[in-house]
Symmetry: C2
Subunit: 395 residues, 2 copies
């Protein structure tokens, strides 16, 4: 289960405009609530107060679905970094939280919408993966309020002004159709069973002293609900980052060298998939050769059109890992539609967070690229909104 | 055995310059001799008379090695066409000749250097593939004379003024080290046994009524000498065009859909290998996709560095065949270092000779590309020669 909280910053002061006859002083409030693992406190419900927004700048809503321990917090750090704000732990929040925030981005964890706490779930015999343990009505109401530009309060009380980017991350961001329809962009982080197992062994056995048997048992126990309720969400995602074992080392199961796929849905508004060399054709590319020398097992890229749950998609794949910076800038120079603002921005972002997990492989690269694509999506939406009244005034 | 002759045109009138104290009127002659299949006449030797050249324009010498029935004449038509002259059958030559000529290019067939005729070979028990049936001393002397810019006579007497491009084609252009060293560029046309067999069946069985057994027997009979004397020459070639069965159709042995490799030696003076997308890395490319629709079995390209007989090479491979023009221009637009003079020149050349065998596959494409590379090589050599005296004058 993810440990996370709802956080934002207050540095966004949007211009106040009249959105209703009552002006911008009529207020409602949304109470968000955080889990606090240390105190063991967990809410089973929420009081809701609405506060009318004085802003025309409504947030762009992003959904990120993933299991726990799948690197969501690293992804969120990379995302917020792309927007230029300093990423830092939430003020006054849970110090163990996976969530980080920046000037522009608010990330809330959907664990906050558990309608049943640990004891409640035990009594009813459901897991946190089960929709029955989650309050989708409340999730919908509150995300909708944020999307409409309403300010809200955290618990402990803290005013949330609508951020530029509002991310809901957790197990079920695309489960409920109403919530799904609020999302401007959705991402599914899909860690294959083999890699998940290797990672869990690394973390729970090496770092936490669990036995191999208990790890296996816990994975097996989660699997039916995971397959029933979490996994099916990937069909709705605009982008899926799929993490698989490498194919460069025969029979590798260490989970250290990874093959990562970025599956990008075609025809999504304001989202133009990245491509390698030639848009729409099928390509494999081993950049290691005369110009670039890579150590074992090297790097292999693949790109091409495909279908994914009946949708037309473009898939970019990276197997292997980078040794050095020049490999990354070399790769970046051959990718198109990256939505960078200058040549080398992907490499710069990756270098800035070289200490983050996955910075030398496809997880870091594709998370960074998705961050850039979300920035681009945000800017297109803002430009559209700015253009729309002007267009209306013309008529 | 190839049926061919020595031919040239007389349209090149080079400026007369003094190359010796005796001026440019002292003359020697080289007698070339042609085979004439219809009359059954074949020479067993040659009279040689030298004629001092009055030209500073010495020909660029190209060697093309290939077995008979491997498409050399089509290759020569494509090559001469790239140089802009009209390709036509040799005047006064053997009307059955495989050789074509243009304003700028002379092609001679090395069958003319057989030191033993059919009867002589039968007596001594050697094949035409055997070096003992070929007069390499004479080949060397005459090619050397041509390289030095000496004019020569054909038999029946016809003045050969040094052409721009002088091609020696046949079974042994790279066999003799002295002859090999005279070559400015060398090409080996390497038809795999499977394809050769399929082609022979098509030609000798379907068109000439031979039995399958006799075709198999004739291939088997040639094979030991071919492997001993012809095949080893490919290690010396600057470019090898290798023709293999397709891998796009499982277990295909029809020899209709071909996989063709263009193996280009690195570090050859005035020859800069063609590449796909990214020089020096390894790439596969299926252009058929969203932008380009191809019929079964499609088209697949591959490119990358490799080693070939211990030499560093770049290999460009095409499997499959073109349906339409837009596929070719699409492919051309993604190839670099083509040495074209304008965008689309490869496609234009291919269209010009759409009726030639192999125009819809890698044989035609790579022959055309090699033609362009030879034009480029020729122009670089001419520019060097023009620059060299000027440089000398400075000192």
């Amino acid at each position: 289960m993810a440990i996370c909280g709802a956080h934002t910053t207050t540095s966004l002061h949007s211009p106040c405009t009249t959105v209703s006859n009552t002006g911008c002083f009529q207020q409602k409030q949304v109470i968000f609530f955080t889990s606090n693992r240390r105190s063991g406190r967990r809410h089973g419900g929420a009081r809701t107060f609405f506060q009318v927004s004085c802003s025309v700048e409504k947030p762009v809503i992003i959904g990120l679905a993933a299991d726990s321990g799948c690197g969501k917090s690293t992804f969120m750090r990379r995302l917020t970094s792309v927007f230029g704000g300093a990423a830092e732990p939430p003020k006054g929040g849970n110090p163990d939280s996976n969530t980080l925030i920046s000037d522009t981005t608010t990330v809330i964890c959907l664990d906050d919408y558990h309608s049943l706490d640990r004891n409640g779930r035990k009594e009813k015999g459901v897991t946190a993966l089960d929709p029955r343990a989650n309050n989708f009505d409340l999730m919908y109401e509150q995300v909708k309020a944020i999307k409409e530009g309403l300010t809200s309060l955290l618990d402990p009380p803290e005013v949330i002004r609508p951020p530029k980017i509002f991310v809901i991350e957790g197990l079920h961001p695309m489960f409920d159709e109403r919530v799904r329809d609020l999302l401007d962009f959705s991402i599914y982080l899909d860690i294959s069973d083999d890699v998940k197992f290797a990672w869990k062994i690394q973390r729970d056995m090496a770092e936490r002293g669990h036995s191999l048997e208990s790890i296996k048992a816990s994975i097996e126990a989660r699997k039916p609900d995971f397959d029933a309720f979490i996994d099916p969400q990937k069909q709705y995602a605009d982008a899926v980052i799929e993490v698989l074992p490498t194919q460069l080392i025969p029979d590798d199961n260490e989970g250290k060298v990874l093959r990562v796929k970025l599956i990008m849905k075609e025809g999504v508004k304001n989202f133009n998939p990245v491509y390698l060399f030639d848009e729409g054709s099928s390509i494999t590319w081993v950049p290691c050769g005369r110009k670039l020398t890579c150590s074992y097992p090297g790097i292999k890229f693949a790109y091409g059109p495909d279908t994914y749950y009946g949708h037309e998609v473009s898939v970019l794949e990276m197997d292997g890992q980078f040794d050095r910076l020049d490999e990354l800038i070399y790769v970046e120079s051959h990718l198109s539609n990256l939505s960078t603002k200058f040549y080398g921005e992907v490499t710069q972002q990756m270098l800035k967070h070289a200490d983050f997990p996955g910075s030398n492989n496809g997880t870091g690269l594709f998370q960074t690229i998705i961050g850039l694509k979300i920035r681009d999506l945000y800017e297109q939406i803002v430009a559209e909104r700015a253009g729309a009244p002007a267009e209306a005034a013309k008529v």
